[in-house]
Structures are given as structure tokens and as C-alpha cells.
Amino acid sequence: MAPFVLVTPETVEEAIRELARDARTPTAVLAGGTDLLLDLDEGRLEADRVVSLRRLPWRTLSWDGSVLTIGSTLPLRALEADPSLALRHPALLDAVRAVGGVALRHRATVGGNLGRSAPASDLVPVLLVLDAEVEVVGPSGLRSVEVDRFVRASRETALARAELIRSVRFPEPRPSAYLWQRVRPANDISQLSVAVAFSPSDRRWRIALGGVPPRPLLVPEAAAALGGPVPEEIEVREAAAVMAAHRSLVRDRRASDEYRRKLVGVLLARAVRAATRIGGPPR
């Protein structure tokens, strides 16, 4: 690893000040480190200064009625212990359990997953179908950004200089599901993933694709085919056909485009079935 100086601010204000000063020094922000340290250790990323968020008061999870807010530095493993998550946001629980192994999830965080913005992120497709909002804090205060606008491309987000992800907010519980396909089921990267959710407030479905470059994304033209809370078989087939024609289903080192086109309809049909099962899928 190329040497760097580790800075560990005690407060949010101190962290922002630290990031704002000295723009010329290449700086990285460290949450759980499970992705960042790899890039630093293998030389894909160079930083002279690494700002650790470990002392900031963001290891939180709170329900305000049915609104869920997750602090950015909460380890993913802690989400698995929340008794309401399986009922209110089943897809989020599925996505969390899809990230690495248990030991990795003891350190990996929601904020880190978003901030690093990997095309194969398991969390981002689910955050998209749940209309999650990213709460960002920086030199000019607090602002809220929709996940769809926050995640721009691989390793690229809407964070401005000296801004940090404080928390992620989920506006309403939704019947939802997240399914993925991998070479190895455990501790691997998804070749393709599909997240679905039905919003009880606007009575519409959301569908997102993951595991494809350049970033996970919503497919509203497929979701429009689904209709009501329990879609008909023919509606699911129509949505699947729209998905199969999606321009993001390309060939890369993880899967061929033919395989992805065949797979996407299978994952979609299973995900819709899982999300519409009363009480969600068994787990």
C-alpha cells in the first residue's frame, strides 16, 4: 500500500473542515474500508490522506413511524438484526445478505456502498426501487438527493467536495424483492440482479437492474407493464420482454449478453412472485 496519513476527526464539523482544506492533497474517505482499502492496497487508487469516519455519530438505525433512516456508517450486519426489516423492506434485507460474508458485513457500511458506487453494488438497485433519499452534509449544510441522481456512474456520485453521506432515508415500507445470479452463490459479485417494489402510495411498481455497467438503474418502461399490486402472468411476461431488450445487458468479463437477456426475465418473474406473496418470501 502506498503510504498515507490517516486522519480521524472527532466531529462532523471537523471532518468537513478536514476535507475542505488543502484541495491539492489527494484524499479518500474511509467508512468500513472493505472496498476502499482494496483499491489502495492494489494501487488502483492513490491517496496521501485518508479521512476515517469511525468516530462520527452515524452508526444509527431509526424508525420514525414507518420511515426508516439508516446512518451512513452503520455496519451492514447490524441491519440484519432489525426485527422490522424483513416485513417492511424485504428486498433491503435480501440485498444486505448478498454483500460479502458475515465478517465483511461487520465492517461494510451503507454509506460506503453508496459512496463507492460500484456497478455491481447489491444495495443500489434496492435503494432505487424503494425511492431512498441520500442525506448529504457539507460546508453549506444539509441536502437530500434521490438515489437515482446520487449514483452517476462507476465510482462517480453527486457528492461535491468536502461533502459526506450522513444517512439514507426510506420513505415508505413496500412489498419488495431482490434476486441475483452469480457463479458462486456466496461471497461473489452478481452477474445480474433485479430489484422490484410496489409503492402503496402511488400504486406503481418500480423495477431496477443491477450487476450491469455503468451503474444500477431503474427501468420504468418495464415497470409500467406491471399494473396493480398483484400483476397478471401476461403483464409479467410483457415486463420481462421489455427488460430483455434493455441496452444495459451487455457482454463483460462476468457474463455474456445472451445469458443476461435470458436470465433477466427469469429473475424478474421470480422477484415479482416473491414480492406479491403475502408477508413476503419465506426466509
Binding site: 503510504p3 490517516l6 482499502l37 482494496l38 460479502g100 458475515v102 465478517a103
Partner: protein, 159 residues
């Protein structure tokens, strides 16, 4: 480069203070090369194999993806001391009795991962869940059957 402050860690019950610890040093390297605890293995160094798993304040952690300075002030348990814990002792005995290893390189990681899971959920954890949650640990010799038997045995005996 270093912040220069000494780093305090409790490793296997012994308080340790290190003055010259570089800021960029991974916990894995601190344990193996600074403290000589070579039971913790470097497999992939990318978080894919689980061979470097240790307990940090009782939680399983990949020491190859953790900076030593990030766990300052915590208590770390490595495979060298895991058998002092009643759960860890049951896990070590179960691996030995089940012949759950061939080359043995992955064994410290499996022992630490299973000890962490059993300490977290106890013997109530359903066996399939336990096996699924060991998915972060790779073994390239055994074919896993003997490891699965060791998991079942350790679970039945865990205090």
C-alpha cells in the same frame, strides 16, 4: 507515514502498545509480522477467502480489509487463543474430531468465523443458516463435507 501516536490494542488478552505503527498498515500484517501471530493466514488479501478472519470485540472481521489503527482500543482474539473461550474450544475440538481439514490453511479462518457465529446466535442458530453464513470462508481441499460435520458437532456442544 504515521500520526505518530502509539496504538493500543488488547491481543489475546494482553495489552499491547505499538509506537511506530504506520497509518497504512493492515491488521493482518500487524498480527503476523509485528506480533508474530502467524496462525492468522493471508489467503487472497481481497476479502474473498476468509482465511484472515479474527474477532474484534467479539465480531468476526477480515483483518486483510481492516487498518490496524482503525481498531485501536479494541480487544482482538486470534486462533492462537480462541480455545481459551468455551465456544472456541468446542469449535477447535469439533474440527479436530471431524477431521475437517486437509492442508489446514483455511482452518484458522473457519474456526474464528464459526466461533463468532456461535457466540452471536448460540446453539439456537439453525444449521442451514450457520452453514450459509460460513459462505465467506473458502476451502480448496476438503469439499466441505467434513467441515459441515464439524459445524454440526460444534453447534451441538456449544455452551
Amino acid at each position: 507515514m504515521s500520526e505518530g501516536r502509539p496504538v493500543h490494542l488488547t491481543v489475546n488478552g494482553t495489552a499491547t502498545s505499538m509506537d511506530e505503527l504506520p497509518d497504512d498498515e493492515l491488521l493482518l500484517d500487524t498480527l503476523r509480522w509485528r506480533l508474530g501471530l502467524k496462525g492468522t493466514k493471508e489467503g487472497c488479501r481481497t476479502g474473498d477467502c476468509g482465511a484472515c478472519t479474527v474477532l474484534v470485540d467479539g465480531e468476526t472481521t477480515l483483518s486483510c480489509l481492516t487498518l490496524a489503527r482503525e481498531v485501536e482500543g479494541t480487544s482482538i482474539t486470534t486462533v492462537e487463543a480462541v480455545a481459551r473461550d468455551p465456544v472456541g474450544g468446542a469449535v477447535v475440538a469439533a474440527f479436530a474430531e471431524s477431521g475437517a481439514l486437509q492442508c489446514g490453511y483455511c482452518t484458522p479462518g473457519f474456526v474464528m468465523a464459526l466461533t463468532g457465529l456461535l457466540k452471536e446466535g448460540g446453539r439456537e442458530t439453525p444449521l442451514p443458516r450457520l452453514l450459509a453464513e460460513l459462505g465467506g470462508n473458502l476451502c480448496r481441499c476438503t469439499g466441505y463435507a467434513a467441515i459441515a460435520r464439524a459445524v454440526e458437532l460444534a453447534r451441538a456442544r456449544a455452551p
